[in-house]
């Protein structure tokens, strides 16, 4: 290796080390060093009308309206993940009689606004979906586990800084089942997680349009990147 190459390699090595330190802490120790503005992706999960810890009665609809607000400086693609607790219950019909044998079922129903779409194959989960003329949520997947089901939705368009999505749904209710199959006083959790990722320069997701709605497949691909980033 000649002297020139050796000098350049050494300098590059030193700068890599410096850059790592700078990125890790974002507090520079030398104000004269060049500052690289990398932007930021930040979001806020809001449930304006939801009251934590409230009592739930069968079929009584209570407010729950998760939205995602872009609080960063870059456009974002955003996603919501809702975990619905399950239990061994005997669902009752409107006449109060069992409508099915006792089995493992989701304990809550979800309701959107007028024109809400039902998750395919579900009789208890409706959401405010996107249409050809309006943005909204797109159902991506449902995964089942012994104690909860997990639903994932993506928002049909990128969200600009300061903007907020429409609510995924507006209300929820405890399903009607035989009393005490889930002991009274039980505290049930309905965790909601929001994820966001930069909307620009997403490699590995082909065919993304500059603006307008994303397909379900686009959103699934993007959420996969999000998920990998979380893991």
């Amino acid at each position: 290796m000649d002297k020139k190459k050796l000098t350049a390699a050494a300098a590059a090595g030193v700068m890599l080390l410096i850059c790592s330190l700078a990125v890790a802490y974002f507090t520079d120790y030398d104000t004269k060093t060049n500052v690289f503005t990398v932007g930021n992706v930040a979001l806020e999960l809001n449930e304006e009308h939801f009251t934590d810890g409230q009592l739930v009665r069968a079929d009584v609809k209570l407010d729950k309206d998760p939205t995602v607000k872009n609080t960063g400086t870059n456009d974002e693609f955003v996603f919501l993940e809702v975990k619905v607790p399950k239990g061994e219950i005997t669902l009752l019909g409107s006449d109060g009689r069992p409508s099915a044998a006792k089995s493992l079922q989701e304990l809550f129903s979800f309701f959107g606004s007028s024109g809400a779409q039902a998750v395919s194959g579900s009789d208890n989960f409706a959401y405010n979906g996107s249409t050809s003329s309006s943005e909204g949520w797109v159902f991506l997947e449902k995964t089942a586990a012994a104690n909860e089901d997990t639903y994932v939705f993506g928002y049909s368009t990128a969200i600009s800084p300061g903007e907020e999505t429409i609510s995924l749904f507006d209300k929820f209710a405890l399903r009607k089942f035989i009393e005490e199959e889930i002991a009274g006083g039980t505290k049930l959790k309905i965790p909601v997680n929001a994820y966001g990722i930069q909307a620009d320069s997403l490699d590995g997701v082909s065919g993304l349009t500059e603006s307008g709605s994303l397909t379900a497949q686009d959103l699934k691909d993007i959420f996969e990147i999000c998920r990998n980033k979380q893991n």
Partner: protein, 222 residues
């Protein structure tokens, strides 16, 4: 010399950009909310002060403390009703309830009973008027729906007219019992049990509150 500096600077910048890209990957963010909801339930328990009773004495007025109230141990306000009765009409004919420990009213549920009173050796006043009639005449919080009431489903129970708040208890329905015995008294039971119904109901997805105890129980019993 100047050329070498430019070359070195470019190499360094490229290295920095590559390193930054590798470290930053995609910019992302997340937020979460745990969201807890508690399953509503109306649950009650009969709270009694009932010291171990002594044996019934023959040809006596046998007094016992039996203070009956209902505690709301659930997490919602609820209406309660109580059934209290002796096993047979013969025992009932000689039994009295007292809400104050002084005035004892007949356990017989007969609206036609007179308002006569006598005072016994213990200084207590025995009323021939029935306890349930006395309650209804007072128009207090406890009320009894008689066996000939037009509302068939509600008959035969004592009702507390207000919803009992979660964690609270009704005042006692009665505090003492007196059993008047003959020559050969036999062991007897006073059966007391209580039921409850949530003061809130669902109507078209909305939580509504029952107007009163009668509407709550009628809806529950339908």
């Amino acid at each position: 010399m100047k050329k070498r500096k430019v070359f070195t600077g470019s190499a360094v910048l490229l290295a920095v950009l590559a390193a930054a890209g590798a470290i930053m990957a995609y910019l992302g963010a997340s937020d979460d909310a745990e969201n807890t909801a508690e399953v509503a339930h109306d649950k009650i328990t009969v709270t009694e002060s009932f010291p171990k009773p002594s044996d019934l004495k023959a040809n006596s007025n046998n007094y016992y403390v039996k203070e009956v109230a209902v505690a709301n141990t659930g997490n919602v306000d609820c209406y309660v009703r109580v059934y209290a009765d002796f096993p047979d009409s013969q025992t009932t004919a000689g039994a009295y309830y007292s809400a104050d420990g002084v005035n004892y009213y007949s356990a017989v549920r007969d609206a036609e009973l007179s308002g006569d009173t006598t005072t016994d050796d213990n200084g207590n006043t025995l009323h021939t008027q029935s306890f349930v009639n006395m309650l209804n005449a007072q128009d207090g919080k406890w009320i009894f729906v008689p066996d000939d009431d037009s509302n068939e489903k509600l008959r035969g129970y004592f009702y507390y007219k207000d919803p009992v708040k979660a964690g609270e208890s009704t005042p006692s329905l009665f505090k003492d019992v007196m059993i008047k015995t003959g020559d050969a008294p036999e062991a007897l039971d006073l059966v007391v049990y209580a039921e409850s119904v949530d003061s809130v109901y669902e109507d078209n997805g909305q939580a509504e509150t029952y107007a009163d105890y009668a509407s709550a129980w009628n809806a529950f019993l339908n």
